[in-house]
């Protein structure tokens, strides 16, 4: 009986594994083993060049900076929102959650053009600032614009992941903590947040990975001036047609995401052994 159910579970894993194998692991392995237009040695050389080229290092630094900032802002904005939704009366929480993930249903291009309208030289923000006598603001084609766009794009992921952890908490835990004399901040720091850490970390990993690999938003809001790895990758493939260099960029991006995923997994495990 036990064996049967375990086998059934394994069978259920198969379709997902098959998709991952053919759509992810195989292309990655193939790219590394026999890159189009080159050989593994060329990719290795290109990777070395990417990691040492003084013109390209800022791109890597900017990618990390933008992604980390996006992740932190999403955490700071998303976690409290998820908390409020999870503690709202049942008839409200469903509607609020739907509202929070509504942006996911909009096309990224449409949403990003919205930001151009807001942030551009003749945009809403600039016009308002001029009306206040503060002069024009040019946020478009800056790192700030990229971060703003990415935060909006990925905030729902943070809210959803945090919510999944928070909604499983026994609300009596907070009552218990308050009854024992803990004020709201202590309740949050010592009970609510530590217990929801796994969900928040999943959210952080998703947002970080999404931010590193996002293309439309940084391309449209950062332009060619504020390149990050994903837009660099695109120009290597489509503009300079330099496939080995593109493979090198892809490799660095993948390693970056894997490192953060591993880090978050470790933190989560440490959280669960103390929990």
């Amino acid at each position: 009986m036990e064996l049967t159910s375990r086998n059934t579970v394994r069978l259920l894993l198969l379709p997902g594994l098959a998709v991952l194998l053919f759509a992810f692991l195989y292309p990655v392995a193939a790219t590394l083993a026999a890159p189009p237009d080159g050989d593994p040695a060329t990719v290795a050389r290109e990777t070395g060049a990417l990691l040492t080229d003084p013109n390209l290092l800022p791109v890597i630094a900017r990618t990390i900076r933008v992604s980390v900032l996006t992740t932190l802002i999403c955490l700071v904005l998303g976690f409290p929102t998820a908390y409020l939704i999870s503690r709202a009366p049942a008839r409200w929480s469903g509607k609020l959650l739907a509202l929070a993930i509504f942006p996911l249903m909009l096309n990224t291009v449409v949403r990003t053009y919205g930001w151009i309208v807001v942030l551009g030289g003749n945009g809403v923000l600039s016009t308002a600032s001029q009306a206040l006598g503060l002069g024009p603001v040019q946020l478009l084609y800056t790192e700030t614009a990229i971060v703003l766009g990415l935060v909006q794009l990925f905030l729902p992921l943070m809210i959803l992941s945090s919510y999944s952890s928070l909604s499983q908490q026994d609300p009596r835990l907070e009552d218990a903590a308050r009854g024992l004399g803990a004020g709201p901040s202590r309740v949050f720091r010592q009970v609510v947040f530590p217990l929801a850490l796994p969900g928040a970390l999943v959210g952080c990993t998703l947002v970080f990975a999404g931010a590193v690999t996002a293309f439309t938003t940084p391309q449209l809001l950062g332009g060619s001036r504020e390149r990050i790895l994903s837009t660099l990758l695109y120009s290597r493939v489509n503009v300079s047609l330099d496939w080995p260099a593109a493979s090198a960029v892809a490799l660095v991006m993948t390693v970056l995401v894997l490192v953060v995923a591993a880090l978050s997994g470790r933190l989560s495990k440490r959280g669960s052994t103390t929990s």
Binding site: D175, A176, A177, G179, L180, G181
Partner: protein
């Protein structure tokens, strides 16, 4: 002596003032220091709402709550010095037992050494010193509830509030834990208020039992006073007085099934002058080993009876003897709201 907890006309309405639902209405209560009070009633009677108002998790919509003689109606729970034990235990799953029990003391910014010492003492009080470094998830339900009790006791609260703490435990453990609860309360000398729907629990633990129905007080007092003399039909029904017969010469009365005596119609014992005699027909017999539960139809309605033998069969004519001193006269004839 000032009551530790005093409710003055406390009420709570859910929803708007105009068309909300009254969970508790105009409740007065005074709890003396060192006593064990139970709030008893069926689900929805307002007992948990009352406890949560005393704890400060719910604000009364009318009336005042006094703790140690001072008005605490608007004091948040974290400043009330209450020790609360929940039905779901509500232990912090990410902390060891020591850290759970020490939580309230750390919130009071006591020195680490004192926190450790007092958490240790509280765990010892409930017999779990050996598990001090374990997490709640590694314990059984009964052990978890003892940790929750230790955690509430460790802060030396002015009142211990217990919200159906035993109802998640199996029957045998529940009886054991009652003893444990009573022992801890006596040893610490704490004032305790316990919410329960279990009359046995209330009878065993209470110095004062408070019976609630539909958010209103039905009767309160020492169990030895309340149990033999329920004030009205609701209380009687709740305490297991199953019979509300019409007895010639009496107003509304009730009698416990174990006090109804059955005897054969023809050859049975003589009616004593201290009993009221009725005639009836056996309607059903439920065999229970040591006794039978027998339903008898009479002119004044159905009577349920706990009979020591198995010598009656359905359809048989019987005489029913109701000892006069066991007949309890009730204040009301009507069935109060919520009793059905």
């Amino acid at each position: 002596m000032t009551p530790v907890v005093q409710l003055d006309g406390v009420g709570h309405r859910f929803g708007s003032a105009a068309n909300g639902v009254a969970a508790v209405s105009d409740l007065d209560l005074a709890v003396r220091r060192g006593t064990f009070t139970t709030l008893l009633g069926p689900s929805g009677c307002g007992k948990t709402t009352t406890l949560r108002m005393i704890a400060g998790f719910i604000r009364p919509t009318s009336g005042r709550i006094l703790l140690e003689g001072t008005d605490a109606t608007d004091t948040p729970p974290e400043r009330r010095n209450i020790g609360m034990v929940f039905q779901s235990y509500a232990l912090f799953p990410h902390m060891t037992l020591t850290d759970n029990v020490g939580f309230g003391l750390r919130a009071r910014r006591r020195p680490a050494a004192e926190v450790r010492k007092r958490a240790g003492e509280a765990l010892e009080l409930v017999g779990l010193s050996h598990a001090a470094d374990r997490k709640p998830g590694e314990l059984s339900g009964g052990q978890q509830q003892r940790v929750a009790l230790a955690r509430a006791v460790a802060i030396e609260p002015s009142v211990l509030l217990l919200d159906e703490p035993l109802s998640n435990l199996d029957a045998r453990l529940r009886v054991q834990m009652r003893q444990e609860l009573l022992r801890v309360q006596r040893e610490t000398g704490l004032t305790a208020i316990l919410v329960t729907h279990d009359q046995d629990e209330a009878l065993q633990l209470s110095d004062t039992m408070v019976i609630l129905n539909g958010g209103r007080l039905e009767q309160q007092g020492d169990p030895r006073t309340v149990f033999p003399a329920p004030a009205n039909r609701f209380v009687a029904q709740f305490l297991g007085y199953d019979n509300f017969p019409e007895v010639p010469g009496f107003g509304p009365v009730t009698i416990r099934p174990e006090h109804v005596r059955l005897t054969a119609a023809v050859t049975g014992e003589e009616a004593a002058t201290d009993s009221v005699e009725l005639a009836g027909t056996v309607a059903d017999v439920t065999y229970q080993g040591s006794h039978c539960l027998i339903g008898v139809d009479t002119a004044g309605g159905r009577l349920n009876c706990v009979h020591p033998g198995d010598d009656f069969r359905p359809g048989e004519a019987v005489r029913i003897l109701l000892p006069r001193h066991r007949l309890v006269e009730l204040a009301d004839a009507h069935t109060p709201a919520g009793a059905r």
